[in-house]
Amino acid sequence: MKSNSNNSNIEKQKYKEFAQQREPKRPVLKNCIKAFIVGGSICAFGQIIQYFYINYFGYTEKNAGDPTAATLIIISIILTGLGVYDDIAQWAGAGTAVPITGFANTISSAAIEHRSEGYVLGVGGNMFKVAGPVIVFGTVSAFAVAIVKMLINYLGGM
């Protein structure tokens, strides 16, 4: 009698190790360096844009952040629309995912993808499919942090 297809956990664990020895590993260190370079470059580029708005459009250091973010978002959306953002991201990894450009890419890529299902149920209904969790848990964690801060203040700290 052959072994049942519902293999035991020991067999599964053994197979997992067997398979892992034959899988190419993710180049973690290389990916980290690439992410550092690209992510840093995007932020440095953002800084240039910010100075540009401060020096040429009369923004202050405080309110120059909004047009800077908007500019980065627009560039990211254009690159997504041209179909190159995902190629850059394959190379850059977290470098393009973490900055605001990554967030813009999640929303615009989902919007482009679901255009075939119409503007309301397609684009509208799916735009935040990938970005949604970031917004939900970003808001929830901000709320938790605010409560902790409030408690510390209340107890006379800081």
């Binding site: 293999n7 664990q13 197979y15 067997f18 398979a19 190419p24 482009i112 993808e113 679901h114």
Partner: protein, 335 residues
């Protein structure tokens, strides 16, 4: 006739009287492009969605196969097809256009051989004169359903595979010229607990090994019986695992006669975006119904064991932390 626990032979040896394949842009750049009948540069093929493009490719392959054999579609008893899209709409909608009585099947990427087994059984049982069977997949439609939006910038690991954009169809008859379907082994589901959908080769390899091993046992054959044993879409990772598993089991399969469609259809050095290789229903359908059948017609391959491999998970099952059930069906094709 029943052979062993999971296999049978087709006494009448149904003949593949014609076959046709369609491919997308990356397939056109690949090493097998010369064996693909219709190549498209545009992944949309002038349609307004990837799903419609996939359906069109399947229609084109079906019509081309009929045209090559000079068979009218009214003469065909049944069209058997499968694909990866939810509710297998590519197959059903292509069947709507073609108008041949239709059986829709789902075996994920094993659909090509699942269809061929059913088709050969129907011809062998003299239920129909002609059967058309095929499978399709589209990189972009699969990507958006199984993973993320196509333009989303997620970094893929080196174990990931590239879904083939294409379709492959063959026409079976009880007699005629061409490669003959002689035996088949229907695979069991083998689940070794792999959960990573970016590592489907490792998830499917044990099923391929199980089916091939059973095929040999049931039919009293060894690997030497075949000129080529080819799996559907294990990719480089799954292929290596399967080879080493055979070694571990003491089954002597030479690397020269054990290949994988997923490693044949693309040139992994020149097309690094495919990572470990090809996947999708069209990986086996295009490679087997195109390149490999052509090689058989030329006389370069006499006996082929075609083993299409499938990962029977869904995006839902993955999110619910279920592991990936693997399956493989083997069909012996002889010239």
């Amino acid at each position: 006739m029943v052979k062993g626990s999971q296999s049978f032979v087709f006494e009448s040896q149904p003949v593949i009287i014609s076959s046709a394949t369609v491919g997308g842009p990356l397939e056109a750049e690949g090493p097998l492009s010369g064996d693909i009948d219709i190549l498209h540069e545009d992944p949309y093929i002038g349609q307004d969605s990837f799903e419609k493009a996939e359906k069109l490719m399947l229609e084109e392959a079906a019509m081309k196969a009929l045209e090559k054999a000079g068979v009218n579609r009214d003469e065909v008893g049944v069209f058997i097809s499968g694909d990866l899209i939810n509710q297998i709409i590519s197959s059903s909608f292509a069947a709507r256009t073609i108008g041949i009585p239709y059986l829709g099947i789902y075996g994920a990427c094993s659909s090509s051989m699942e269809g061929l087994i059913i088709a050969a059984s129907l011809v062998d049982g003299q239920k129909v004169r002609y059967v058309l069977t095929g499978a399709s997949s589209h990189n972009n439609s699969a990507e958006r359903q199984y993973r993320y939006p196509n333009e989303y910038g997620a970094q893929k690991p080196p174990t990931s595979q590239w879904t083939v954009t294409g379709a492959g169809v063959c026409l079976l008859a009880s007699e005629g010229q061409g490669p003959k379907v002689t035996a088949a082994t229907i695979g069991r589901i083998v689940d070794m607990g792999i959960t990573d959908p970016f590592n489907m080769g490792a998830a499917m390899a044990p099923a391929a090994v199980d089916t091939i091993e059973t095929h040999f046992k049931d039919l009293g054959r060894g690997p030497d019986y075949y000129d080529l044993i080819v799996t559907g879409d294990l990719g480089a990772v799954g292929h290596k695992i399967a080879l080493d598993k055979f070694k571990e089991k003491g089954i002597n399969i030479n690397e020269n006669i054990f290949k994988d469609c997923g490693m044949m259809i693309y040139d992994r050095e020149k097309q690094p975006q495919v990572f470990a290789g090809a996947s999708g229903c069209a990986s086996s359908a295009v490679t087997i119904y195109g390149h490999l059948l052509n090689e058989m017609r030329k006389g370069n391959i006499k006996r082929l064991l075609a083993v299409a491999t499938g990962a029977l998970h869904s995006p839902l099952s993955y999110q619910q932390k279920e592991s990936i059930p693997g399956i493989a069906h083997a069909v012996a094709i002889e010239m």
